[in-house]
Symmetry: C2
Subunit: 203 residues, 2 copies
DNA sequence: TTCGAATTTGACTAATCAGTCAATTTCCCG
DNA sequence: CGGGAAATTGACTGATTAGTCAAATTCGAA
């Protein structure tokens, strides 16, 4: 049975959406409360500050994403196929959001992290933590691909970090330019970056 | 003779520094005026809005950086050496700033662009424009390197974009994690990404 | 030196900001 | 049903926000 959403859930959901859409600084507590249909008094009953809400919002979002990522990055899937699936999934998600709000939003961790990292220690720490966990998926992919002789990457950690920087950079550029096409070749570019043989073009 | 700085110059300089250091949203016009020793009335005599100032600040900074970039990316320098010099220069700059303010700040265009791109069209357009110009340097490097047989990159534009995404992503990660070491291997990683033979390790 | 333009000043909005709080309502458990 | 905890409310504060403006000052050229 579909349990009705709680005020706390509505707040974290609205917060993530609005902060991602606009920015941390441009999103006021009042606006979040309006969107979530919650009075400000209630807000401060659940959260002790705006930053506290942002941390909770990231945590809730990560918890929800995890299951999907675990499916995509399942060890039963061939390593490079995991990456293809991941990019496909991410692009579809960004496409859907673009249709909703008209903008390419990139990665919320990147956008928010870059904005608040010099202002709020707790928020930065949470973002750092989640980014590290995401990196772990890449690491295991590359380790497996190397073990199976699909690519040459004796230092999986380093290679994963490079790939991670590239993909995160691509997401940021797509956001800044509001252009999803910048991400169209992200999978073949990844294969190239990893030194994997390009898949045969279907004809 | 060292001309004394004008109020307008002090404003753009302070604006860039403070916005880069903190963020666009967290930097108030009052704070910028204080830093620049200019009264707010004067501010609005020179600029019609905070966003207008930010555009002017980016433009002034770009104008100042251009000469240095033209030197680093001079066609008389071997292509891959240009990249090495560029990373060296960037790292030294970030190191110096870190010593000043204790934080790794990454790329101002990236940080600011990611924050304001959904809020302010003029600012976004200016950032897009400057990013495109920076990309041009990479393009010419890669075109030259390809022509000289140092790398294989028939599509210089695409390769430059990939490299650009990687380096920008690296800068953002370094900012978020406040860790300059993430940039330590950026040149060898770039060579690897370009498929250039690694330089012999000195012993 | 004089005059008009460029610049500087500080006091002033009106809106918005994050955050507080006592009083009230709703909820669940015994 | 009763009572205590959990949740909700709306009015409130004091600080900060971007932006305005008329008056005063400085500057440069004739």
């Amino acid at each position: 049975m579909p349990r009705t959403s709680t005020a706390k859930e509505r707040l974290t959901e609205a917060a993530l959406k609005m902060i991602w859409r606009h920015s941390y600084g441009a999103t006021s507590v009042d606006a979040i409360c309006d969107q979530a249909k919650v009075k400000k008094g209630s807000f401060y009953y659940f959260f002790k500050s705006k930053c506290d809400l942002a941390v909770a919002a990231l945590e809730a979002d990560w918890k929800a994403q995890r299951a999907q990522l675990d499916t995509i990055f399942s060890p039963t899937v061939p390593p490079l196929e995991r990456l293809r699936l991941y990019f496909e999934f991410s692009l579809e998600h960004l496409q859907k959001i673009k249709e909703e709000c008209g903008a390419v939003l990139g990665c919320p961790l990147n956008a928010l992290g870059s904005e608040v990292c010099t202002q709020d220690t707790a928020l930065r720490a949470k973002i750092h933590e989640i980014l590290d966990r995401k990196l772990t998926y890449f690491e295991s992919v590359i380790r497996d691909a190397h073990a199976q002789g699909l690519i040459v990457a004796p230092d999986a950690k380093a290679k994963a970090r490079t790939l991670f920087m590239f993909t995160q950079g691509a997401l940021t550029q797509a956001r800044i330019q509001n252009n999803l096409e910048l991400l169209a070749d992200i999978y073949p570019c990844t294969l190239d970056l990893l030194g994997a043989p390009a898949p045969e073009p279907s004809r």
